[in-house]
Symmetry: C2
Subunit: 423 residues, 2 copies
């Protein structure tokens, strides 16, 4: 099935906003085994919209149009859809009532211009939007089935996932259940993971499991798209493959599906009824900032300390008899973590200290990252060297620090070589 996406709106065309709706839609379709063949972006302009609809109507089997369903004069999608299909716009009484209810529930009166949102092409099938006034709809134009969706991201997401994708799958002639399984790892590059996972797809010989990746430094997402007759069939196919992925990527998998690294760390600490003290230098609060705002962190994050001159730690942590100037040492790093723990009366402390190379920022500028985790019983240590400029070092240090803590909490080795370090 050939699918096209048409994104509409001056804000997207002029680059005033980055078109994340496109990548979101395209990705979601890939995740269920469909693929987008062509993308078009046009402004709020009658001639361009008509031309875009007509071209897609000749080429595609299905077209998703995003945006242009609002109440203002520059929202033109319904009007041009009717024109392209050669049908009339008619008032959809049902949607009008839905909108009036929407406003009543919010103790407001519906403005007159919202009425325009209930004017739909006469051949349109309404697609419900339970969280907004933009009415989604589907209709045939030329040889293609068009799906019109709102530009507001959260309205789009709900409509795409709950209504458009099931309709596309039904049309694609493959009456299957599709499931997406995701693994988030840190420390292995995409090509390395790709080679580690060679052959996992073939564990299900009928080709119904597809492996894919999405890299966003420093994390890598490994995806398995599984097709089956029903949910049980999908689980049966997924089971051996996901077991194999977990086995091969092992300690490097830090989260699965909707989990995040910081969420896993927070959950691990919460489960132990533990409390956390953090010490940061060049990462300057960005480790604390990943955890501290999460719901539940108020019971866990006891204290974070940020300094740019390590000598400040003497006074900040009541730390004596430790050499913090010059090149760091394992002993000094461990002493910092221990002092942070006792000073904040926390059960766990994580110290991430960085010796950044001298000089202006450049692609081969590096940093040495000194990490210690202290508990009442023990202190563990990890050192790493990352190259790639100030931002790269900082991003890597934030992730490495959090991941060391995740490994510690899960009883995994804190020291394990990663692809991004130079040692």
């Amino acid at each position: 099935m050939r699918i096209e996406i048409i994104c509409t709106g001056d804000e997207v065309l002029t680059g005033k906003i980055v078109n994340t709706n496109f990548s979101y839609m395209s990705q979601k379709l890939e995740d269920v085994g469909l693929s987008v063949h062509w993308g078009t972006t046009v402004g709020d302009d009658r001639e361009s919209l008509l031309q875009a609809f007509q071209l897609a109507a000749q080429r595609a089997d299905a077209v998703i149009v995003n945006g242009g369903l609002g109440p203002t004069v520059d929202d033109l999608s319904q009007e041009i859809a009717a024109q392209a299909a050669g049908v009339e716009l008619v008032l959809n009484e049902e949607w009008l009532v839905t909108m009036e209810d929407f406003f009543t529930k919010r103790s407001r009166i519906m403005p007159a211009n919202n009425r325009k949102q209930a004017m739909l092409p006469s051949t349109a099938e309404v697609i419900d939007n339970p969280i907004g006034t933009a009415c989604g709809f589907a209709m045939d134009i030329g040889r293609a089935r068009f799906f019109f969706t709102p530009g507001v991201p959260r309205e789009l997401r709900r409509m795409l996932e709950q209504q458009v994708i099931p309709r596309l799958l039904a049309r694609s002639g493959s009456p299957v259940t599709i499931h997406l399984k995701r693994f988030h790892s840190y420390g292995l590059g995409e090509s390395h993971v790709d080679s580690l996972l060679t052959g996992v797809e073939e564990l299900v010989p009928d080709g119904s499991v597809k492996l894919g990746f999405r890299a966003h430094y420093p994390q890598l997402e490994t995806k398995l798209v599984v097709r089956g007759a029903d949910a049980d069939d999908v689980q049966r196919k997924l089971r051996p493959v996901q077991a194999e992925v977990r086995k091969r990527l092992g300690n490097f998998i830090m989260a699965e599906d909707d989990q995040t690294l910081e969420g896993v760390v927070l959950a691990g600490l919460t489960e132990l009824r533990a409390t956390l003290a953090l010490v940061e230098t060049f990462t300057s609060g960005q480790i604390a900032g990943r955890i501290g705002h999460l719901p539940g962190a108020e019971h866990v994050l006891r204290r974070g300390v940020v300094v740019r001159d390590r000598a400040e730690l003497h006074q900040a942590l009541g730390l004596r008899d430790v050499m913090l100037t010059g090149e760091l040492t394992q002993d000094a790093t461990e002493a910092v973590a221990r002092a942070a723990r006792t000073h904040a009366s926390a059960t766990h402390a994580l110290a991430v200290l960085i010796d950044l190379d001298e000089g202006a920022d450049r692609i081969d500028l590096g940093g040495t990252i000194w990490i210690a985790i202290a508990t009442e019983q023990e202190t563990v240590f990890r050192r790493s060297r990352i190259l790639g400029g100030r931002d790269w070092v900082r991003l890597g240090a934030v992730e490495l620090g959090l991941d060391c803590l995740r490994r510690y909490l899960q009883g995994l080795p804190v020291v394990e070589r990663i692809d991004f370090e130079k040692t």
Copy 2:
């Protein structure tokens, strides 16, 4: 002049990467008074590329193609460009030498497959890429001039700004100098700023100044695009308009052009040879994280303290005789800032404390933000209430805290009502 952009590559089409190159290019063209009429996204697929080139060649005056200039087999731009124009691919000896030099300088030998990057359509005009091996080029296809650019963002940016835009401006028949002036503000919404600036464009009666906005909460960017015969003419036109914008937006302008709020704060502190102590709660390090990693911050950021339970501040700051439980007070907030300053031996302290509403996250969940700035001489205070859910409150508090410090350093009132607060 009708301009189109064609973005190529499976990674962009499948949503594996968000297409920031498109919004970047479109925005840059807007900034010099050009506008993009149509955007197309296609994969690394011969048929789609040829069709996209042919359609644009019929419709547009100028086309920017992004991506597909690499050394691998799925990089097809040169090949399909030659096919669309009906010309041959020929080896460009000059670019081959340039590439060999590129590798030699990096002590590497050029891999054989890079030779493909020097195969250009016979009618191509080479566009230099001083920082990569992808050779840019321009050529006519149909009625349009096509500009082929690399997909790597930093290579694209340099080529677009230094080479493609000047060529487009020359072709657009307006031999003018174009200048973009930007103001960054915090605290006023887009429609409010728009109404405050009514008529500023007309200060230059010939229509050569154009006003625009770009909102990215919590900041708003106000842009003036000025066209003139030369740099002097541009400055002459810009002067009265920018003076008027500065006057009308006044204290709300926190930075101009490439400046950032955190950079302005750091520069202000550096100029005073001042040092800074920070105290954060729900923002949990995100204020420190904006400043602390900047070059020069190592001389300024003395210490940041993050807690989620305010009672922790007693011990963290050696703070006695102040009530920190229950609803906050101005006195307690000011005492925290003073204690943070003396505890870190800093000249300035900024405390941003937040009482977040109880309950699950929701669109009307709010937070009361208590801000104090302490120096040796005085303590100033600001309270604000922001609604909009956990993330909105957190983002607003980070910006408000930094902006209060900016105002204090610039001798402006720290307390001035903003559009985003509910009081």
